[in-house]
Symmetry: C2
Subunit: 198 residues, 2 copies
Amino acid sequence: MATDNPAGESPSRGKRADAQRNRQTVLTAAAEVFVSSGVDAPIRQIAAQAGVGMATIYRHFPTRADLVTAVYRHQIEACVEAGPNLLAGADSPLDALRQWIDLFVDFLVTKHGLADALQSDNDRFAALHAYFLDRLLPVCAQLLDAAVEAGDISPGTQPYELMRGIGNLCIGHDNDPRYDPRRLIALLLQGLQRPHAS
Amino acid sequence: MATDNPAGESPSRGKRADAQRNRQTVLTAAAEVFVSSGVDAPIRQIAAQAGVGMATIYRHFPTRADLVTAVYRHQIEACVEAGPNLLAGADSPLDALRQWIDLFVDFLVTKHGLADALQSDNDRFAALHAYFLDRLLPVCAQLLDAAVEAGDISPGTQPYELMRGIGNLCIGHDNDPRYDPRRLIALLLQGLQRPHAS
DNA sequence: TAGTATTCGGAGCAACGCTCCGTTTTGTCA
DNA sequence: TGACAAAACGGAGCGTTGCTCCGAATACTA
């Protein structure tokens, strides 16, 4: 029951049958290529994998961000919906926040170069950034507010800044056992915690 | 009295006069272009600015990282040398660490896209990453160790991870008043601090 | 001054993003 | 079913960038 068509992705209803078929083919091919070559893979490569011309991809997904968005939409929405659930089920709002961030980090970390793309100042991905913010920022804000309200963390931290920080920390962890974003994010959350005023 | 020629930069001594002259011209031009267009600027643009052929740039600085390194070498070395000085002069090792990180962040934040390039998984900048690590990691490690020794922060944090985290947090702050890496880095340091065991 | 090693410059190739337009496919209506 | 128009397709093609190659120009040496 998520918002309909939150991103600029072209609708598929009412289109010709071959168009709908191709849309799905491209989506599947893109998902495969993203895994093997990252979200920065050449459009030509995705087109080849899909057995389709490049123009077909551009027609269905005008910008690269639209394609990436469409591929990962389900997982993003899952993250959105997990927020309130965690808040209801966790021991404390802080715990809910922690678990939600874990979820988000897991999502980012398992997609080659997604975090990189998200924060890239390259405006090719501006729409992707915007989509993530649109969907996830309210959730993060809600969790953060709840944790502040409960006195678990001190106020003053902006959800936007926190999300970007987490996204940034997830950049470039690939093939580097010396760098685990989770440890630093744990540290960050530690710093966020209000010293227990008993 | 820093290490001589720590990066793969081509030496200028013993070369022909025009070569040395061109080397300097390119360096100056690159510095200007980096400011206006970021460290990702096309080599053609730098060559044009310098009034020189592209091959000349590649001859003096085989990889882009070599050029960036050469342009910023002085500032990096200044950062290296500031470490011990801060440690000697600050109120506490933790304070020295904080001030040193401030210095490092200031450096990163004032260079368009430098932080981005540093952590890019694009191997075009691998040598740049390596150079930063070579020079700065020991300094960071020394400050970190001192702070642990003094009991200011809890042990267990790896200098490498900390440096990468800081670098990552500096990514993409440009033209976004909502995102100030310094606030998050302060939070991170807060999380690093050992709760005062009195 | 002549000779040679060094350096220079930009043409050229490959890879990529994105568009344009002739061709093919699909849905519709008589 | 058999046209016919609208929709969709595919890839050639243009612009940009990274990087190399090689004939031309330049600086040192004897």
